[in-house]
């Protein structure tokens, strides 16, 4: 292969790669600008007349059964927090208690449900 062809391939290759990725840079900038603008164009919600802040509702502390460790409580709370984050609903933990082990374990049931759920 003549050296002139080799140099030409190298040069062309680099130019095309740079052009392609520079195009993508431009696209990402334009996209973020459009999204920023559309966000700022959204009319700010009309200010409501400042009402006195509602008094904080005193929440009864959750009833935790004896023998459940802090780590388990933290894991259960985190799982519920993750769930409430995905469906925008606020959940409160009222009580945590152990259930008697009957039949299939709860994790196995969850796995079974997931695998047999229809599309």
């Amino acid at each position: 292969m003549p050296m002139s062809d080799v140099i030409a391939i190298t040069f062309t290759g680099l130019v095309i790669v740079f052009c392609g990725l520079i195009l993508l840079i431009a696209f990402v900038y334009i996209l973020s600008m459009i999204l920023k603008k559309s966000k700022s164009d959204e009319k700010p919600a009309p200010k409501t007349v400042s009402a006195p802040a509602p008094a904080p509702v005193s929440m009864p502390s959750a009833q935790i059964e004896d023998g459940i460790s802090d780590e388990v409580i933290a894991v259960i709370s985190a799982a519920i927090a993750a769930m409430s984050d995905s469906d925008n609903t606020v959940y409160a933990v009222r009580s945590i208690k152990k259930v008697a082990k009957v039949g299939r374990p709860v994790w196995a049931t969850a796995g079974l449900q997931e695998n047999t759920r229809a599309f």
């Binding site: 292969m1 050296m3 080799v6 140099i7 391939i9 190298t10 062309t12 290759g13 680099l14 095309i16 790669v17 740079f18 052009c19 392609g20 990725l21 520079i22 195009l23 993508l24 840079i25 696209f27 990402v28 900038y29 996209l31 973020s32 999204l35």
Partner: protein
């Protein structure tokens, strides 16, 4: 009866593998054992090196008819690995691997700092400069492209380009004058990817000053879900229009990413990044390994591939760091040039190397997320470079 017994035994002996065993097969088996050792004991890219080395082992067992080129002949069906190899030959496996990679990749750092694309593009310099050196060493254009793509530091891309460029003469009737094979190129690519933490740091330190290495970069902005969903669609359209040969790789990568970012196909996402990718990895590894034969491995070309592969990785790293230095200058010292080396792909190893070298200079500096931008840009960049090579060089 005794005569029949002796005759049967001698027939069995003459048709056994031992009768056809030569020093070449012995050497190939030894190479397979060494790679198996490296995969199992040293854990060098074990997910691929193990099936590749076992593929080498199977392909070089005499009379077993298990090379990737053992196609159907004389009314007999082909060997098992011949049929598995069709996924490599027709370019099916690498894009499917890209689908899984897309499901595991977060393009957020790249969207937050799109300038990272420049570093991803610069690191592809390793591919194109190695192309020149391969041509100087007398390789054919298709061989030059196959060796140069090692610099993309991307296994599936390397296999995709090389399998396209080198079609075996025995079964596909093409020119048959190639002195290298797919297996050697793939093993070289994966070996160097495993060696990224050893190859890159000296080059990074050589090309940067202590002041540059200690730059602490600003925190990246949060990226919205809308941006993350639009990004894969846009990249597919832009890249495929510009370089149609890259559409299969980039398209599948971005499909995987869209499946992930859309958040509505959780089951598909789990399958693509786990079961599907694992199955394809096994098929890909074993059939690529089974392309190696003694006459191609035991040659001067193998040494040249090893040398050029190292050169490709080094050039890619150097180009990324040098463009990083340019960005350092133009940004008034806000960009740490070390993130440029991550542009060679090898996700996430190269980004970890940037983080490690940066932390050596300033232990409180966290470059990992900044380096992930060029790192994933490098994946797109190497796919584009692969498309360019496939478009320019006849195959």
């Amino acid at each position: 009866m005794f005569e029949t017994f002796i005759e049967t035994i001698s027939n069995l002996a003459s048709t056994s593998g031992f009768s056809a065993f030569t020093w070449r097969e012995g050497l190939m088996l030894l190479i397979a054992f060494v790679f198996l050792y490296l995969a199992i004991k040293k854990q060098y890219e074990p997910l691929l090196l193990l099936p590749i080395s076992f593929g080498i082992l199977l392909a070089n067992l005499p009379l077993a008819n298990l090379t990737s080129y053992s196609g159907p002949a004389d009314g007999e069906v082909g060997g098992l690995l011949y049929y598995l190899y069709q996924g490599v030959h027709y370019g099916i496996y690498p894009p499917l691997i890209f689908l899984g990679i897309g499901c595991m990749t977060d393009f957020g750092p790249l969207i937050a700092n799109p300038k990272s694309f420049l570093l991803g593009a610069a690191a592809q310099g390793g591919i194109f400069f190695t192309f020149i050196f391969a041509a100087l060493l007398g390789f054919a254009p298709q061989e030059c492209a196959s060796i140069a793509i090692i610099g993309g530091a991307d296994g599936p891309t390397t296999i995709y380009v090389t399998s396209r460029m080198l079609s075996h003469p025995d079964i596909y009737g093409q020119n048959g004058s190639f002195s290298i094979d797919l297996g050697t190129v793939a093993v070289a690519a994966y070996s160097y990817m495993a060696l990224v933490p050893i190859i890159q740091p000296p080059i990074m330190k050589l090309l940067t000053t202590k002041k540059e290495r200690s730059v602490v970069m600003e925190q990246l902005r949060p990226v919205s879900k809308t941006e993350k969903v639009i990004f894969p669609i846009a990249v597919t359209v832009v890249v495929s229009l510009l370089v149609p040969s890259a559409a299969a790789l980039v398209g599948m990568l971005m499909l995987g990413n869209l499946i992930k970012e859309s958040g509505v196909c959780e089951r598909l996402c789990k399958t693509a990044q786990n079961e599907l990718m694992n199955i394809i990895t096994i098929f890909l590894g074993i059939s690529v390994g089974a392309t190696t034969t003694a006459d191609k491995i035991v040659s001067l070309s193998t040494l040249k591939i090893i040398l050029l592969g190292l050169l490709a990785f080094s050039f890619g790293t150097a180009c990324g760091v040098l463009i990083g230095k340019v960005m350092y200058l133009f940004s008034g010292g806000k960009v740490n040039p070390l993130i440029g080396s991550a542009g060679v792909s090898a996700v996430p190893m190269a980004a970890r190397v940037s983080q490690k070298v940066g932390a050596e200079t300033n232990p409180t500096n966290f470059l990992l997320m900044h380096a992930m931008g060029p790192n994933v840009a490098g994946v797109i960049g190497s796919a584009v470079a692969a498309g360019v090579l496939l478009s320019i060089i006849p195959h």
